[in-house]
Symmetry: C2
Subunit: 477 residues, 2 copies
Amino acid sequence: MSEDRLPSRSDNFAEWYNQLVLRAELADYAPVRGCMVVMPYGWALWENIQAALDQRFKATGHVNAAFPMLIPMSFLEKEKEHVEGFSPELAVVTIGGGEKLEEPLVVRPTSETIIGHMYAKWIKSYRDLPVLINLWNSVMRWEMRTRLFLRTAEFYWQEGHTAHATAEEAQAETMQMLDIYADFAENVAAVPVVRGRKSESEKFAGALRSYSIEAMMGDTRALQAATSHNLGENFARAFEIRYLDAANSLQYCWTTSWGLSTRVIGAIIMVHGDEQGLILPPRLAPHQVVIVPIHKTDQEKDAVLQAVAQLEAQLAGFRLKVDRRDGLTPGFKFNDWEMRGVPLRLEVGPKDVAQGTVTFARRDLPGKQGKHSVPQEGVARAVAEELEAVQAALFKRALEFRREHTHQPRTYAEFRQVVEAGWAEAWWCGRRECEAAIKEDTRATTRNIPLDQPSGGGPCIRCGEPATERALFARAY
Amino acid sequence: MSEDRLPSRSDNFAEWYNQLVLRAELADYAPVRGCMVVMPYGWALWENIQAALDQRFKATGHVNAAFPMLIPMSFLEKEKEHVEGFSPELAVVTIGGGEKLEEPLVVRPTSETIIGHMYAKWIKSYRDLPVLINLWNSVMRWEMRTRLFLRTAEFYWQEGHTAHATAEEAQAETMQMLDIYADFAENVAAVPVVRGRKSESEKFAGALRSYSIEAMMGDTRALQAATSHNLGENFARAFEIRYLDAANSLQYCWTTSWGLSTRVIGAIIMVHGDEQGLILPPRLAPHQVVIVPIHKTDQEKDAVLQAVAQLEAQLAGFRLKVDRRDGLTPGFKFNDWEMRGVPLRLEVGPKDVAQGTVTFARRDLPGKQGKHSVPQEGVARAVAEELEAVQAALFKRALEFRREHTHQPRTYAEFRQVVEAGWAEAWWCGRRECEAAIKEDTRATTRNIPLDQPSGGGPCIRCGEPATERALFARAY
């Protein structure tokens, strides 16, 4: 077994992550540079993420649609900042049906431009607004250094694209979607996040204002888990998205876009995982519960499997896996499902059968601490309570970890020290020069300017000039 | 209104179809040659199709995953028939991240090759089998003549890919998936289909045996609604997909693939639609029921909207739309929802309020024939029954239409005549020459060799040589 042990999380976080993704069969390297295969276990997790988000999008009036994966190169060139931001990362189709294309087509890196083209065609009047469309698809950005889920050339995501009559509505939509992402992250993925505005240098190419949710990983680095952009009139002017208002006068629309990707799977792994492997939040786990039957003799086996079948029937409302594999020891199975992060294990042995009990083992609590015996009768309710307890405990632990590693340095020397292994909240003058110098000095970047701000102001952490906003600085994925 | 009328279905079926797809806002032409935008109403229909199929796939042990959209060109070249079949249709990426690629990448036309590569890596032993994976994605085939949903360069589909230890298991899987498609088509989409084997010339590039379900459209032409392929050992040999059997000897796997695409939306439109527009089967309709409030005075409006709100609460279990739009007449709304194919309309006017009733209007029965008054109390049950009645009536009508237009010609002269406006079931010697000559003469092709065969044999419909199988011939989409 020793060659099968995961690399140590505390000694080598990066290698622990890489090996865990592969061994838990979440994803594999594809034979195309920088691309991944999302394996069934990883995709089942993504399907649960999709369901939780899709429900929230639809409850707020959004509808899904599908736009082409190929976009004419000329479309990207219509918005100046957009093309500058994306052109180094494009995959370009130059041949179709055996012939050289007159105009090259890019594999979409994001869909603002083709959305802009179609919205200009569809939107005529204020009665057509708002348009609230979301897409579930994959996009392609040629990346030099890739890591499974965190940074791959092709990745899976949703991209929302909305058009509104007024600046206020577009801003309200931008903030609504940021809040939906935060709600999902905290209440479904059990990942605490900081909502905030991106700095000018970190905002989306072509946006008026970008917002993000930022999460602290288990190595204290930050990960941007989702973004929401107010695009202002930028894309509406580039693509002529206009409407006749109630007074019959032609106006530009205000548009937004917002996205969350399979990167969030990386966050879930790095926030909750431990030396034994994954710990999946119950609300997203492909298997919420695994039952491991324990028996030696044939007679024991019959009795145990009968009890397991009864439990299975009682637990039909959960995402349940019964591990009936032959020829593997219970200990092997325990390790296997621990590595795969199943939040709750139920063990059923001859003693349980005799006593009418089942042994619960919580994934998030090590050894005996997480184990207790529960009556088989009414087990569904006990499972529901235990899963809720795991969900809450994961969030609480992640929040405490973030608090412990978030600092309020008073001096730049202190700042430099704390961002070695944590986050820094500090006054920032807002100038690109200070932001760039800090990055150069420390590899920490502005993650965002949190929406929750103290009143007043203070001296910029680097230059000492008066500042009115506190920014969140960290080294990031 | 006259300029808004649909083209006549009986006079110009093709133009009726094109205009209906656009006006019902199912899809629109994209600014990329041969591509479409699937609009929210069309995508909602596809989501319901996906849900019905996905449930059936999972119930038979399949799991979903995601594979890259780009495939190295060399992969396609490993299976000789496969590359011959697909190379004229490829879109090719030659530039990535600003540089010319050493090896061009093709946008997947289908994923057998990259699946083969990964399965060869994953599968070691008989214990790893079967592998039962499905993908929901889009693929790209450069098409010269395109039509929305029926034939587009990019289209949306699912592709299942399985690997098995034995020929028997692969054949059983191939037939199981064909049966699942037939079950979906008939019992969910209300589209009767003929299950059968494809001829050698019509089979999938690289398959051992291909099977299809074929449906008759409203103009009597055939549409292949899904295919299921037994790939034999062809891809296993090309990609070295091998396993150690229980006796520790290395064996090739047997693989299958099977797919159903957004083409099936074209079938639903062309099987059920009428002069007024779409008729959607209740089990797939994005809106199963639309409520249209009818009122003139403000007082009537209050009373009617109150009754509508009560109905809405009772009908929470259905996919329900309440059309509260102001400034539009009930007549306009009736036409609008008829065009969009909502299977059941509920009208609520002052008289209904006074009598505690609601007026049902079935989409599939014209005028008064489909209308009757129902008590508001217990309306949910009446709606459920009416929707089931619509579902059954649509299937029955389509089946009768197919029977009326399916012929058993005895002579080739008769054959030539019946395929002008119908299907022909006829003995066929199985030779490519006869198949090709028939196509040349009549534009009818072998759709499939139905699984349901009479015993015995007869003379080939064209050459008169002895034949043991009857084939289905038709002009096809």
